[in-house]
């Protein structure tokens, strides 16, 4: 078990500092929104983590809350695993409540790394696209070194199937898995066939280095699209279209080869027999992506107000614009379709065999 406390215990401690937020979390913590996936969070503290001492102590001490989990960023003083919640909005609220209770920043804090965990092990090609979409869609672009991705599971002393290398995307290490979140299956008369549990028993795909609320939202959106594509979920079509669109985007910017790098490592990774070889190959692709993105940042900043004027400047808008537009487009499509379904509930309920009579 990665943690030995209940979410209710944590919410009880957070309540005095953030009563309204905690009430919202309590109401929505198991609620799946718009058929998107549940969200798990891990907070890696690169400072001394003193701001969390009181809460950790109240939850049962470091032994129960922190040390029970062997996994963390290589340079972190602690890794605090939070219980999963049903949607990205509630996950963000949970972090906001912790910020208020500890009087410290979690978002956009250089000493904090937020690991966003999505259920299901995506195929490596989808994990790669998830990482790329996360990076290009972030409101805080980071210039990584390989060391930023080092964790205690990067490489064991003896070769292990749990070697995860130094990568932006990580698979789970057969840890805890909460399957009891609703799943929107393939359409049944145009509406999602809602199951009471996820259609897989384990597996996670994690992004190691989120920083902001937008990052959590984007990771949740993209992971959901690819998970539905893989597992024949309700958003299967959107997932397929999204994959085509993001590959077209990369091709337009002559980066179509980037997803072919080993963005994630598992025991089945064929390309890198040695962990370090895969790390180097991944970092080459990451550096190319960062370099191209930085050029776009410089270009946009140079254009300044002309870039954002109503009349678009001559030439392409750039990769950052393209990715932002793509993510906004698919978020809007999902919300529109989901809201239509909700409005249609008046005539016929979303088919939910698990719903009580």
């Amino acid at each position: 078990m990665s943690y030995r406390y209940q979410l209710e215990d944590l919410l009880y401690l957070l309540y005095p500092a953030a009563p309204a937020i905690v009430d919202a979390i309590s109401t929505n913590r198991r609620r799946v929104e718009h058929g998107l996936l549940s969200v798990g969070l891990k907070i890696h503290c690169l400072g001394d983590g003193a701001q969390f001492n009181e809460i950790v102590s109240e939850l049962g001490g470091a032994q129960n809350v922190l040390e029970v989990n062997r996994y963390k960023n290589e340079y972190a003083s602690l890794c605090w695993v939070l219980p999963p919640v049903g949607n990205a909005r509630t996950a963000i609220q949970l972090l906001e409540a912790i910020e208020l209770a500890t009087k410290s920043n979690i978002f956009n804090n250089d000493d904090i790394q937020i690991q966003v965990c999505s259920p299901n092990r995506l195929a490596p090609r989808y994990a790669a696209l998830l990482a790329i979409a996360f990076y290009l869609g972030s409101d805080v672009l980071r210039l990584y070194t390989l060391g930023d991705f080092a964790t205690t599971f990067s490489k064991f002393h003896h070769a292990s199937k749990y070697d995860r290398g130094k990568r932006l995307v990580l698979y789970d290490a057969a840890g805890d898995f909460d399957k009891d979140f609703k799943w929107w299956g393939l359409p049944f008369h145009g509406r999602p066939f809602v199951l009471t549990q996820l259609p897989f028993d384990n597996g996670r795909t994690d992004i190691l280095t989120a920083k902001s609320k937008l990052d959590i939202q984007n990771i949740n959106l993209v992971a959901s699209l690819f998970c539905h594509l893989e597992e024949d979920g309700f958003w299967f079509q959107f997932g397929m279209q999204f994959e085509n669109d993001i590959r077209s985007l990369l091709k337009r910017h002559q980066l179509e080869h980037i997803p072919g790098a080993p963005w994630v490592r598992s025991e089945h990774s064929p390309k890198d027999a040695l962990v370090e070889h895969g790390d180097d190959a991944f970092m080459l692709a990451m550096q190319e992506l960062m370099s191209y993105t930085l050029e776009d940042v410089i270009r946009v900043n140079r254009l300044g107000k002309h870039y954002f004027s109503e009349k678009t400047p001559d030439g392409p808008m750039g990769i950052l614009w393209d990715m932002k537009t793509l993510l906004q487009k698919y978020r809007a499509k999902i919300l529109e379709k989901s809201n239509l379904l909700q409005r249609g509930k008046k005539d016929g309920e979303v088919h939910d065999p698990g719903a009580s009579a």
């Binding site: 250089d110 805080v140 672009l141 980071r142 210039l143 937008l214 940042v297 900043n301 107000k305």
Partner: protein, 61 residues
């Protein structure tokens, strides 16, 4: 902050985080100064011979 430089060149400092300019609030343009309205002279009909309050065209007995 990462320092990167070649020998005999000025060191450059590369920040580890770069704000995405698409999400950086852009300064809103200054409002245009208000222009005083130009005075438009009233067009006066060529013949006006009714007094205020009297509807032209009919009268009550």
């Amino acid at each position: 902050m990462t320092r990167a430089h070649q020998p005999n060149s000025n060191p450059i400092q590369i920040p580890q985080t770069v704000p995405n300019p698409l999400y950086t609030p852009q300064p809103s343009p200054a409002p245009a100064p208000e222009r005083t309205p130009e005075r438009v002279p009233e067009k006066v009909p060529s013949k006006v011979d009714h007094s205020p309050g009297e509807t032209r065209g009919f009268s009550f007995v």
